[in-house]
Amino acid sequence: MGQSVTVPITISVNGKQHSAEVEPRLLLAQFLRETLSMTGTHIGCDTTSCGACTVIIDGSSAKSCTVLAVQANGAEVTTVEGLADGDTLHPIQEGFWEKHGLQCGFCTPGMMMSAVALLNDNPEPSEEEIRHGLAGNVCRCTGYHNIVLAVQYAADKMKS
């Protein structure tokens, strides 16, 4: 069995630097949820399949259940907690609210992070592009129709 020597890391999460000594096997999702107590990032499948754990690392969406915290050392991570500006919702959050893009809400943080990454790359996605852009995120209950409407709402809002 390999010995686990802890490693010092510093990760910027939603603009704030966090330093910690971590075991290399610590997953980024655990680092966020357990070390930083930021439980907005959900763990659904823990097998890289559902996308509930999606966060944005240096501008690209990633499933944080399949990234080691040490791999994100020095990176800038954005989680769902970083979307709202105080009491003002981010357009994507407003979109999910207005268009009823969630039921139980379990998949929602990951859906929103994938949607934000998509809109950063492509501010005016077609319906098909939205569906492709969210292919790595699974929702068990809302169905995808209203989620697509929520992303379209956000795209319109962000344009104006």
Partner: protein, 284 residues
């Protein structure tokens, strides 16, 4: 699910990574995008004692046009290959069809080739394009032909002390067209069967053809029987149909929960035909 403990190294150059790999031998595993290795470690199907993380070596991620062809760094992400207009179409199309956005942001070409999952997309494209895999160890570089690289289930010609540092594919002339099409698993998007084709047409006649198949058998292969039907033909319906019918010849088909061997044998012929037609439509 939490991986077993391991020692972590983050080298900053290929040479340093090769030194570490030599030092730790079979106790060590290279980590690139981590999108095959970390899931295996979480399931404890892999329990390496030492992890050598090459994912942050900046000099390993690039796409360059060179005299000898197009060079792609070993840790170049799928997303960059998918968005590249420099790499041949079969390769960008294969990268664009891997899994989903999040996986394409993390997974790397070197990781895909080294892992040699029987359902991986890129190996088929590489075989069809007759790409070369450049490896680095502490004392040498080797150039391996893609046709001989993928040997069996998760088994390649890569030695334990080697790192895939670069992939080289020939630049496509105007007369050459290539394509990758697949029948993907609906949940994971892994290829149940995927076929890449590359054809060169000169004065209406096919002078060169190459077909790579993934998902069908234990590892990606070159469909040699099909090629002889295409070369010398005008790529008319007759030649394409004959070539497609032979794309699974001699293959020991995978038979699993996703598809029976019989169904895969059928899919290979259907997707070979689609790949050849699409490649031909791009060769002018």
């Amino acid at each position: 699910m939490i991986p077993a403990p391991f020692q972590y190294h983050k080298p900053t150059s290929v040479a340093e990574a090769a030194e570490l790999l030599k030092k730790h031998g079979s106790d060590a595993k290279i980590l690139a995008g981590g999108h095959s290795l970390i899931p295996l470690m979480k399931l404890r199907l892999a329990q390496p004692e030492v992890i050598i993380d090459i994912g942050a070596i900046e000099s390993m991620s690039y796409i360059q046009e060179r005299e000898e062809g197009i060079a792609i760094g070993g840790t170049t992400h799928y997303v960059d290959i998918a968005n590249s207009s420099t790499v041949p179409k079969a390769l960008s199309e294969a990268a664009a069809q891997v899994a989903d956005v999040q996986v394409r942001n993390r997974g790397t070409i070197g990781g895909s080739l080294a892992h040699s999952d029987p359902a991986a997309d890129l190996p088929a494209a590489l075989v069809a394009l007759k790409g070369q895999i450049i490896t680095s160890s502490t004392n040498e570089h080797r150039t391996l032909e893609s046709n001989e690289f993928f040997q069996d289930l998760f088994t390649t010609a890569l030695r334990e002390d080697e790192i895939i540092s670069e992939i080289l594919v020939p630049a496509e002339s105007e007369e050459t067209g290539s394509a990758y099409v697949k029948f993907g698993n609906k949940a994971s998007h892994y290829a149940v069967v995927g076929v890449a084709a590359s054809v060169t047409l000169t004065n209406g006649k096919c002078i060169e053809a190459s077909i790579g198949v993934t998902g069908a058998g234990p590892a990606a292969y070159q469909a040699s029987e099909s090629i002889s039907e295409l070369v010398g033909s005008d790529l008319g319906d007759g030649a394409i149909e004959k070539a497609s019918a032979k794309a699974g010849e001699g293959v020991d088909f995978n038979d699993d929960v996703h598809a029976s061997g019989e169904y895969r044998a059928h899919l290979v012929t259907v997707f070979a035909e689609r790949a050849i037609r699409l490649a031909a439509s791009r060769a002018s």
